[in-house]
């Protein structure tokens, strides 16, 4: 059955990408295209007393200039889909009107015949700013001072308490309570392809097409139709190749609506490609929480309760999911452990910065970091090995489904198994012995671990703002080629390959007979998108069930022609067998028929159904389309559509172990070994899973050691380019030792869980735990990220 699933299959999307022949938004040209550039606020908080566009309008090549006033009544506000009790939602206009609220806030749009002219004209627009006091630090902004949205009276967007159990009693019953303040710094997702939008309006047909680098073409279409005021069925969103997203393109942005609206005004195609500077200023950021965790435990290490009081820095406005991200942190505060009582108290705070939103992990890395750092602090308090504290509190593999005090039911797991495997690969005992020797020799060596659980396959619709299902249509064309249309539009994950693997096995056809189509609302049925490690678990399952439905119909047709009961047919490797033929010699069969996977070449053959003992599903597709020999009351054609609604999330898990050495002279951390044992349920393509794990771990290394979006006290963005915002480089990364355990998910028939975010969730605390372990002889219990050499050096020297 499994010819492709589980195999290291090379990606079918790669040839166009390695030859430079793929099309990202900026690679698409259209006749008479106009280029858009934006005037963006230079200040974090300023009243706009006027915008003088007169000089710009006289400049060569300039076709139009639009200001906030021009569009305020024409284009609807940037939407927020998160619903929380008593949430304050500011009016987020696509261009700033009376006030600019963050550096990079768009104020005016210039349209010109070429991009150089558009960019020149931006400098000719004069904005009359009146600087206002700023709210930058999240804790200060929560307490008072400058108010960003006057109508709300303060900067508190919401307060929320979540969790189950009596936290006060739980902490009271503890022998020890450890408390630690932790900062999750602000990060920039930095997809290598910045955002980009191309919009083309046909006035005659009244049709608008928007090409956008997005993770959610259908949701984007719905929202843009509302913002622009165009019927949804006259708007087509196409996502061509998308150069990475990491959550930053799981959004609806001002520029997307504005470009669509401008194209309608001018009746010409318009394009805007985000510069990297704009990308760091005005594409969503991630993380940005400052909180304090309290954990109660017994003398033997048993946890009694966990409380996390946190300020979430939301930025100036809500983007699509901004206020909801910290709620995911609250859901995952039980980590991989039995904790009888858990409480999170979150305060969402407006600041004069770009909005935070979903960045790879989206609230879950924060939770894992809190829990896994706390486990090490507990271990230090009790003078226990970090491994033993974790073992002590794991649920056993037999305790699943496992209910947490955050209200979740973990689907399946074997945390002990992943831990044991990681310990084995790392040679944990030897590592500890090496560490003792290193310390005796005056060297700083640290070993850190993290046993994580993540929440994936988002998710049941009840738990999602706009539907948590996914869709698929599977069609076998008359020539036997298989077309799959998925709503889970990818941006580098490789669904064209992994979905084709699943489909090829299920249909028994050649992988190369399958084309997976995605990211075009004009072609693909409504879908949700790729985020939250959901594409395979939810979208793949939708496809699997669609195929099973298609096969029910194919079997009916086969039974009719082969003159037997459908239930009596055997199906193997793409071929239906009449009961008697199942035992027949295979040579006879293969001489008779077109080999599986080879659709007939040239003109369509007349199906020869006389005296057949077997039929391939690809031959049945032709019969179904010619429709002369169908059973009574059978619809012609061979396709099926299915919308899959999952009953639960999935909960992948694993253990990561990190070994660091710290240079005493420079304070520099070197990761010398990194071991990751991940369990993402059933694996469709190990090559792709490895790639996801590697990428996530390295992003976590970026968070742990290098990356931080820094605004100064005036709210100026001082990490506004890749010259200042430090992404990990190849030379800074160690060889990653990856392995897996495989615990299938009972939530979907594929048994898959999801793997896209495992690295950013599991790795960050392992790295920081290793650094803290290395520095423990100096009495260090905690260090905030990014752990810069200067911070470490100061500890060593004082």
């Amino acid at each position: 059955m499994s010819k492709y699933v589980g195999k290291r299959i090379k990606r079918t999307e790669d040839p166009r990408l390695i030859k430079g022949l793929a099309h990202y938004v900026d690679d698409i040209g259209l006749p008479n295209i106009l280029h858009v550039a934006f005037v963006r606020s230079l200040y974090a908080h300023a009243r706009i007393n006027g915008v003088d566009t007169s000089e710009a309008l006289k400049a060569p090549g300039v076709v139009a200039v639009y200001t906030g006033e021009d569009v305020a009544e024409k284009v609807g506000p940037v939407p927020c889909a998160a619903a929380l009790p008593d949430l304050k939602v500011p009016d987020y206009r696509v261009l700033a009107t009376d006030k600019a609220l963050f550096v990079g806030h768009p104020i005016a749009a210039v349209v010109a015949t070429d991009k150089y002219s558009a960019r020149d004209a931006v400098d000719l627009i004069s904005v009359d700013y009146e600087e206002l006091p700023v709210a930058i630090d999240v804790e200060t902004a929560a307490q008072g001072g400058a108010v960003i949205h006057e109508k709300f009276g303060d900067n508190i967007a919401y307060k929320l308490t979540s969790g189950e159990g009596d936290i006060e009693a739980a902490l009271k019953s503890a022998d020890h309570i450890v408390t630690q303040r932790m900062v999750h710094q602000r990060l920039a997702p930095i997809a290598m392809e910045p955002r980009g939008v191309l919009a083309r309006y046909f006035p005659g047909e009244e049709e608008l097409t928007i090409w956008s680098s997005t993770q959610i073409p259908h949701l984007l279409r719905t929202q843009l139709a509302l913002m622009i005021g165009i019927p949804e069925n006259k708007l087509r969103v196409i996502t061509p190749e998308v150069g990475g997203g990491f959550g930053s393109k799981l959004n609806v942005y001002a520029e997307e609506a504005l470009l669509g609206w401008i194209s309608i005004q001018l009746g010409q195609p318009v394009k805007w490609i985000e510069s990297r500077r704009e990308n760091v200023q005005a594409t969503i950021h991630g993380r940005a929480q400052v909180g304090t965790v309290e954990v109660g435990c017994k003398n033997d290490g048993t946890l009694t309760g966990l409380r996390y009081n946190v300020f979430a820095d939301l930025g100036a406005y809500h983007q699509l999911l901004t206020p909801a991200i910290p709620t995911l942190t609250g859901l995952m505060l039980s980590g991989a452990y039995k904790i009888p009582a858990i409480q999170m108290n979150v305060t969402g705070v407006f600041t004069n910065k770009m909005s935070t939103d979903a960045y790879r992990g989206a609230g879950r890395p924060e939770a894992t970091y809190v829990v896994e750092r706390a486990m090490d602090i507990v271990a230090a308090e009790l003078k226990m090995d970090p491994v033993e504290v974790r073992r002590k509190n794991f649920p056993a593999a037999t305790e699943f489904p496992f209910h947490t005090a955050t209200g979740l039911d973990y689907d399946s797991g074997n945390y002990q198994g992943a831990l044991d495997k990681a310990l084995g690969i790392s040679g944990y005992e030897t590592l500890r012995a090496d560490q003792a020797k290193a310390r005796a020799a005056g060297k700083l060596m640290g070993i850190g671990m993290s046993s994580y659980v993540e929440i994936c396959a988002l998710g049941p619709s009840q738990a999602m703002p706009a539907g948590g299902w996914e869709s698929a249509t599977v069609r076998i064309e008359p020539t036997g080629k298989v077309t799959v249309m998925t709503g889970a539009s990818p941006h580098g994950q490789g669904q064209e390959t992994s979905f084709a693997q699943i489909a090829a096995d299920e249909l028994g056809v050649n992988l190369h007979d399958i084309t997976v189509i995605h990211g075009d609302t004009g072609v693909v049925q409504y879908g949700i998108g790729t985020f939250g490690s959901r594409a395979t678990a939810v979208g793949g399952t939708a496809m699997l069930i669609a195929i099973q439905r298609l096969k029910e119909k194919a079997a009916k047709i086969a039974a009719h022609i082969l003159q037997c009961e459908a239930s009596a047919l055997a199906f193997d490797a793409g071929r239906y067998y009449r009961p008697a033929a199942a035992a027949a010699s295979t040579t006879e069969v293969s001489e008779l028929d077109v080999p599986v996977g080879e659709a007939p070449a040239g003109a369509l053959p007349e199906p020869d159904t006389e005296g057949r003992k077997t039929l391939t599903i690809q031959e049945i597709a032709l019969i179904a389309h010619i429709a002369k020999e169908l059973p009574p009351d059978t619809e012609p054609g061979l396709s099926a559509t299915y919308f899959f609604e999952p009953k639960n999330f999935t909960f992948p898990f694993g253990t990561h172990i990190c070994v660091v050495e710290i240079d005493k002279d420079t304070g520099e951390t070197k990761i010398v070994r990194y071991i990751a044992v991940d369990d993402c349920g059933k694996v469709i393509n190990p090559l792709l899973v490895d790639g996801q794990v590697h990428g996530g771990i390295v992003q976590a290394m970026g968070q742990a050691l290098y990356e931080e979006v820094v605004y100064d006290e005036q709210g100026q963005l001082i990490t506004g380019e890749l010259m200042d915002y430090a992404l990990p480089k190849a030379s800074q990364i160690p060889w990653l030792e990856t392995d897996r355990t495989e615990t299938p998910s009972p939530v979907n028939p594929l048994g898959v869980k999801g793997v896209g975010e495992a690295g950013t969730i599991g790795a960050t605390p392992a790295i920081v735990n290793a650094i803290v372990d290395a520095l423990s002889p100096f009495g260090v219990k905690h260090l905030d990220m990014p752990v810069r050499p200067e911070n470490v050096w100061k500890i060593i020297k004082t």
């Binding site: 040839p15 040209g29 997809a191 290598m192 990297r276 580098g492 390295v698 190849a730 990364i733």
Partner: protein
Amino acid sequence: MKQAISINVNGIDHTADVEPRLLLVHYLRDVLSLTGTHIGCETSICGACTVMIDGQAVKSCTMFAVQADGARITTIEGLATNGELHPVQEGFWEKHGLQCGYCTPGMIIAGAQLLDRNADPSRAEIRHGLEGNLCRCTGYQHIVEAVEFAAKKAAGG
């Protein structure tokens, strides 16, 4: 005032009158429609725009087209010969050295340059040689393996 330039790109001679400030990457992408060369940062950090100029891997986002007057340039579109993939391209496919693919053309050019200079690099040398190219998807490990594959392949292994 426009200036006349003459550049050989992927074996074809091109002449054009261009603004002195036109960036080479815009000349390649917008004038010649060779959109395989990408723009990722505009500051010479990310390397998505890397092309081969007279045998040297160069970031085309911080070079003017007029500076390339008289040069021979190879872009990702010109790397394969007679329809046969360059060993580094093959390595990227074989070893899953790409996910979103955006950094890939620049990364492949940098990898090819690296092997031109050192036919049998160690993993550390490969990582050092790719320092000027950023990838946000792969974590670099499969890219290192892709270059190793190419080195072996080029050596006839």
